[in-house]
Amino acid sequence: MIAHPILMAIGMADLLGLGLILSAGWIAGDVLLHSNPDGRDRRQIALEARSERGGLEARWGAGLFAFSTLLLVIAVTRILPELIPGAMCGTGVFQAMQGAGFRAFALRFITLLLLYLWHLLDRLNRTSPRGPLTETCARMLLIALPGAVLGIFDTFKAVSLLDLERPVDCCAALYDRFGNGNSLPFWENIPDAFWMGGFMATGILLIAAGIWSFLRPGRKSAALLAIFSLIWPFAAAGALIQVLSAYHYQVLSHPCPWCLFLPEHWRVGFFLFAALLGGMAAGTAALLSIIVGQRYPAIREPARIMSRRASGWVVLLSILFIIGASFPALLWRLRHGVWIGG
């Protein structure tokens, strides 16, 4: 365990956020079990008031959870590598966290996506005075809740495993994977051309679907956009790490995503991965808005506007990602007349 203010801030934000989300989850359970929007009896009127309070708690809880996740990313990419012997970037920090770190990150980002979708539903719900989506919101919050609990638990576990005395070998963790060809994960064997082909093809299709959904928001266009926005991050992250990162690092090959967060590489990782995750969330949001808008006439128009706005975001973020990820490669090609690796 390392006593650093940022880790204390993460702990504080996590505990506070978890308390609020759990309290909101309790109310959400009550809403699902007992809500009767047509009634005007004592229980229903009290439940409506509590449900509003629960929504407020969940909003603050989700905000704190997002904030602590951002702090965790900053800690892993910028602060902890300086403290852990042998760590040069997040790869070394994850090595020191012994698996709990990866689980914590994965759970946190899945939970953030679910909380974002809850937030979207909640916003739509609040566009109509009677809140027609109250029960749907409660359901979504209960889906996100286990992820928040486990993600925070794994974060505490991962942070407690950090040790200033036990050195790690940052690059060995990365290159050991290449030492023994048999143990390589399948994606390491995919040729660069396939990564780049997949990246460009899904990118073009995603942008096209985004423009379609922006101009004509509907179930078909939004569904297509959502599908591509879920495929695209994997293709784009693969191409970035396996192929394009070499141009950012100016070396033949260094498939490390975490070095992109270092100051010597302009901390471009923050921007690129935020664009990827943001695009994925916005694409899913575009479809969800359309579906609930069609089911609940009271919120149809705000849902349509929200879906359109989300589609616009997908297009913007994917274009920004393509520019940010491939600019160093284009610059290299212009300067040297060849691609790295021939």
Binding site: A3, I6, A9, E82
Partner: protein
């Protein structure tokens, strides 16, 4: 709305002024160890920029032993990839005021005119021919970059012979050997070769290992210094409680504003502006205080003297050169640590009040 927020602050000027000073003071208390840790790391990097790639020391089961210069250099130079080998004499002497690092220099005459830092003048060996004038302030002697100040301000240089005498090094021996290699990437390979080249057991440290040792030491001391934050933490908790209490007093006003047609968003905007009017001066004051403690004149720097408890030096802090990244990140971390609970406490009360039934806060909710 801004005018209204300002008027609200001026309704209780003393309380808000105290809050500004409390926040600024807590930020300074939290930022000082962080900045100093960062400065130590930056200093180590600057100091070691010209250091040898590998440092070799002779070791046996009893401990460190002086290394014979001539056979040592010959053995090291026999390895391919080694371009230069230097013998070095240095060590730590215990003084009543703490340890003093002594470095032997070949270029210095035995009786050059300079002085030992005042704090150590009483630490000279009593029955020897050492005089204060033999010692020379290391940082004054060498044109080092200013970043090294925190690491060199208790280091002095002596002539090669007198250093050997003071450190009990027999004639023809040194503390260690500094080895430069042609390709820094080959350090690991050269180390393996060197380990077999000497007739005595040796231990080696590479440049990167030394640098990471410095960094770890700095961060460990920084972590220890964070215990100095305990009073700051208590202060922060008290402050948050005070804010919550103050907000509870404001809650009637919030209810009333809502009853008069303000939305929750209007109330939040007012609270946000009110909070900004407190934290912006607190941030400015905190930044000015931190700048004075680290980069200002000596009387201000002496405020940082308690840090010596954790970092092991005496007297006022050496003036540090301004490093925007070190200062910026420490200030941001301290700001987050201190201001976040304050912002949370301020806004949370406002949110709670603005989301609640406004009638509950007025006249007991219309009891009649």
């Amino acid at each position: 709305m801004f005018y209204w927020a300002l008027r609200d602050i001026l309704r209780r000027p003393v309380r808000h002024l105290l809050m500004i000073f409390a926040l600024a003071g807590l930020m300074i208390a939290a930022a000082v160890p962080l900045i100093f840790t960062g400065a130590l790391s930056a200093g180590a990097e600057a100091l070691l920029s010209d250091a040898p790639s590998i440092v070799i020391r002779r070791a046996d089961p009893v401990g460190w032993r002086p290394i014979p210069i001539e056979p040592g250099i010959k053995a090291a130079e026999s390895i391919v990839g080694v371009i230069r080998v230097r013998a070095r004499r240095w060590g730590v002497i215990d003084g009543s005021k703490g340890p003093l690092v002594v470095i032997g220099e070949k270029g210095l005459s035995d009786n050059h005119a300079s002085s030992l830092p005042d704090a150590f003048s009483s630490d000279l060996p009593s029955n020897s021919d050492f005089r204060s004038a033999d010692f020379r302030d290391f940082s004054e002697r060498f044109p080092l970059t200013p970043e090294t100040a925190p690491l060199t301000h208790e280091t002095v240089s002596l002539s090669w012979e007198k250093a050997g005498q003071l450190l009990n090094l027999p004639r023809g021996t040194a503390t260690d050997l500094g080895v430069d290699v042609y390709y820094p990437q080959e350090v690991e390979a050269v180390c393996r070769e060197l380990s077999h080249a000497f007739p005595w057991p040796v231990q080696m440290l590479t440049h990167n290992e030394i640098l990471s040792l410095f960094r770890r030491r700095a961060s460990m001391m920084g972590s220890a210094a964070l215990f100095s934050l305990i009073p700051a933490l208590i202060g922060m908790i008290l402050m948050v409680m005070a804010v919550l209490q103050q907000q509870a007093a404001n809650i009637r006003e919030t209810g009333l504003l809502k009853a008069l047609g303000w939305t929750a968003r209007d109330v939040l905007r007012l609270s946000f502006l009110r909070m900004l009017l407190v934290i912006v001066p607190a941030i400015l004051l905190g930044a000015a205080g931190i700048a004075a403690v680290f980069y200002g004149p000596a009387p201000f720097r002496s405020l940082g003297a308690p840090l010596g408890l954790f970092f092991g030096w005496h007297g006022a802090l050496s003036a540090l050169p301004f490093d925007a990244q070190v200062a910026g990140s420490a200030f941001a971390a301290a700001g987050t640590f201190i201001l976040l609970p304050y912002i949370g406490a301020s806004l949370w009360s406002a949110v709670r009040a603005s989301a609640a039934e406004p009638g509950a806060f007025i006249e007991g909710g219309g009891a009649g």
